[in-house]
């Protein structure tokens, strides 16, 4: 008897229509744990390397963690993986909500989708009964309509759905997949991958119940985790604002991206802050399955209503592009949620265009007459519509910033802020050095969640000394020891992803450590997950991810940051004068990893 795990892997080939259920192998799971680790290992083992990401040969994997859908709080995520249409390397993205637990209760640990359907379709999973249905009626509809229509068609409001919107259908390279309407698998274009397979949605209903190996022991650990969350010093703040608390927090330390990272200090931050959102537009808290933090919010404005937004969306559609209008950002959030567009990547294309116009590289004549001056809301709204439907210049913007800048040329590539094709998140790395290193080495490109080295922001100097013997690790402006921190939190972040848990809880709130996770896995799954074994598994996954990316053409030259962050010091605010000494940190990181100076693990040499 396999505890915790759903017990099956579901394989669906959309070309042939063949559906197959395999049993989950406990020995294999000891090496990959679940979730992201399970997904990327399967890609490593089974994916042909030199394929077009949009071809039927690409794989689309949906994984859940071993403890998802059990008593364990904050483990409601799913991870969707494949070769990224946006970056051409390892792609994956996670989202919370209710889909993951439902998939578990239906008896699955992973869905493996291959091929391409002749016609638009959607997948319906009801426990062991799985069918591919015609999606002619759904194609063209937005995510909210799609979710409602599927629930109606199946006559069951409790069905959980992961769906794409028109952006995914139209192969916008950074299209998203949404769970529960507004929980986005946002990054690396997994929605585009759905679209390329003509898969509109996956609907799942599980009537089973998850079991654990040692219920009393497990209950005790789950209570401890609940308590750690409730007792956290930031609990009240996080519950009130969720990640949007970062607007003022990051501005306070001078790293809130403003006018496309030209500054880290935003003069009108109070107008666009998480505080203002909570006070003026929020009507109630929202939550993922079985969470006691409730960090998400439902809001109404005079024009729209939606769940969210998270910090990255809020910043992307305010200060990063020079917009001081909170209600506008909330309207765009609802639009992006409905259409299924990643806020970070779409926001970066806009920031790039605005900066290029300011620098005199291009004018409105180059952009179908659209006037990209900072904060031009009308143009932003119009462009987003053009991106979703690939109309006019929107077609080029839909390819992502890296491709957009390559096409326009004239040196505009220097203003395309991405790493390995993935647009950078909203945290100026010049004031958070470990994050800078993280963006540079992250296996899916310019992203913080691969390591989320939040510890460097805590000023817990004694704790840094105790854990790693390097006090400066708790100093965000120092680069000393940051490679040590990132190597550590990269494993912690992967652990969180393997358990498909929430990174806010796991990392930002510093609640999940290896020993605790091992105890959870032992009492939950009944397998011999010792802390050492867990760490071996994590190291194995990180190495395979690197090897996979090397096969996809990644080398050390791409483990870096756009020049602005390494050469232009911030001019104002609490991080003034700083740049990121990224090359030095990357070298140290390789050394700790045992990789050679080209960033190649021993197994490959």
């Amino acid at each position: 008897m396999l505890y915790g795990y759903g017990g099956h892997v579901l394989r669906v080939d959309l070309t042939s229509g063949q559906i197959r259920r395999e049993k989950t192998d406990p020995d294999y799971m000891l090496q990959v744990i679940g979730g992201r680790g399970f997904n990327s290992t399967r890609l490593f083992d089974e994916l042909k390397r030199d394929i077009d990401p949009l071809s039927p040969e690409n794989m689309l994997l949906i994984g859940v963690g071993p403890l998802t859908g059990t008593l364990l709080a904050t483990s409601a995520y799913i991870t969707i993986s494949g070769k990224s249409p946006l970056t051409g390397i390892l792609g994956d993205s996670a989202a919370g909500g209710f889909f993951g637990p439902e998939l578990k209760h239906a008896g699955y640990d992973q869905i493996v989708i291959s091929g391409r359907s002749q016609k638009p379709c959607y997948l319906v999973i009801a426990d062991e009964n799985v069918e591919i249905r015609d999606a002619a009626e759904l194609w063209g509809r937005d995510i909210w309509e799609t979710t409602a229509a599927i629930r109606q068609a199946l006559n069951d409001n409790a069905v959980q759905i992961a769906a794409i919107g028109p952006a995914g259908e139209n192969l916008v390279k950074y299209a998203t997949v949404a769970c529960n309407n507004s929980r986005m698998c946002g990054r690396t274009g997994m929605g585009c991958l759905f679209g390329s397979k003509r898969l509109k949605a996956v609907a799942v209903r599980g009537t089973g119940r998850s079991t654990v190996a040692d219920p009393p022991g497990y209950l005790e650990l789950c209570r401890e985790l609940d308590q750690r969350i409730l007792d956290h010093p930031e609990y009240a703040k996080r519950k009130a604002m969720g990640s949007t608390l970062l607007m003022k927090a990051l501005n306070g330390i001078g790293i809130l991206p403003t006018n496309h990272f030209q500054e880290g200090l935003c003069g009108y931050v109070d107008a666009i802050s998480g505080e203002r959102l909570a006070q003026e537009y929020k009507v109630k808290n929202k939550s993922c399955y079985n969470c006691n933090l409730h960090c998400s919010r439902y809001y109404l404005t005079p024009e729209v209503e939606s769940e969210g937004p998270e910090y990255e969306t809020l910043c992307s559609y305010t200060s990063r592009i020079g917009v001081d209008d909170l209600a506008f950002a909330l309207k765009m959030n609802a639009f992006l949620n409905r259409m299924g567009v990643d806020s970070l990547s779409s926001g970066e294309t806009i920031g790039w265009a605005m900066e290029c116009v300011q620098q005199g590289l291009f004018s409105s004549d180059d952009f179908d007459g659209l006037d990209f001056t900072w904060g031009n809301k009308e143009v932003v709204e119009k462009l987003l519509h053009m991106i979703v439907y690939r109309e006019g210049i929107g077609d080029a913007f839909a390819e992502g910033t890296r491709n957009l800048a390559r096409r326009f040329g004239k040196g505009s590539e220097q203003y395309a802020f991405h790493v390995k094709g993935l647009d950078m998140i909203c945290g100026d790395p010049r004031g958070i050095k470990a994050f800078g290193l993280t963006y540079a080495i992250a296996s899916r490109g310019g992203d913080h969640l691969r390591a989320e080295p939040f510890f460097e922001l805590t000023q817990r100097f004694d704790e840094a000394e105790k854990r790693w013997g390097i006090r400066e690790i708790a100093d965000r402006l120092s680069d000393k020891g940051k490679a040590v921190l990132v190597e550590h939190t990269e494993r912690q972040a992967l652990l969180t992803d393997c358990l498909t848990m929430c990174k806010n809880v796991g990392l930002s709130m510093d609640i999940l450590d290896f020993d605790f996770a091992a105890r959870l896995l032992q009492t939950g799954c009944g397998l011999k997950f010792t802390p050492e074994r867990v760490n071996e598994a994590l190291k194995g996954v990180i190495e395979r991810d690197r090897l996979l990316n090397i096969d996809f053409g990644i080398d050390a030259s791409q483990d870096t940051l756009p020049k602005r962050f390494t050469h232009e010091p911030l001019k104002k605010g609490a991080s003034k004068g700083n740049v990121v000494p990224v090359d030095q940190m990357v070298k140290e990181y390789y050394l700790i990893k045992g990789w050679d100076k080209n960033g190649v693990p021993p197994r490959k040499r």
Binding site: A148, A158, S296
Partner: protein, 173 residues
């Protein structure tokens, strides 16, 4: 009975999770006696649970397997119950549902309801001395022929309308 502060509910379903775990050591909606209805496009989350209604529809059990406990809770006799499903059909709001041939309905965990303890938003309360009796007659006719999930959805839609109205009037204020 169990009462609800709807405006505080985030839809996290911890009530559902802990209910299921307490009663069976396992976790899943099927094993829960309180079930959260999510109406995504309206932002409504509604935990549906036995209201100990004035009508007591479920007590018309043909096998006389259902009686009312001292706390007003519904008690199902496992020896008398034949899993005929009459109680599930009779309940107008989907608060009783059979799973593995057992009618699952809130038993107040014998007086210490786990859903109340699990809720960290103070949205669910245990009110043992509730004097106001809930009438569910209005849902009876419309619920005829529907399954428990549909009945719960209709009930939640109806009982959350006031909150929607409140939000919308606050927005225009």
């Amino acid at each position: 009975m169990i009462t609800l502060d709807l405006e505080k509910c985030s839809g996290c379903s911890r009530c559902e999770v802990h209910c299921s775990f307490f009663h069976s050591g396992k976790v899943g909606r099927s094993g829960a006696r309180i079930k959260v209805v999510k109406i995504e496009e309206l932002g409504i989350d509604y935990p549906v649970v036995c209201q100990q209604c004035g009508e007591r529809y479920c007590t018309k059990c043909p096998e006389k397997a259902i009686e009312i406990g001292s706390l007003g809770q519904v008690l199902v006799s496992p020896t008398l119950c034949t899993a005929c499903g009459t109680c599930e059909t009779l309940c107008p709001i989907g608060a009783i549902e059979l799973f593995e041939d057992i009618p699952l309905v809130c038993d107040l965990c014998g007086g210490n309801p786990r859903c109340v303890n699990a809720c960290t938003l103070d949205a669910i309360h245990f009110a043992p001395d509730q004097s106001e009796v809930v009438q569910l007659k209005e849902f009876k006719k419309a619920g005829r022929g529907l399954g428990p999930e549909e009945k719960r959805l209709r009930y939640s839609l109806s009982r959350s309308q006031w909150l929607r109205d409140q939000w919308i009037s606050e927005r225009s204020a």
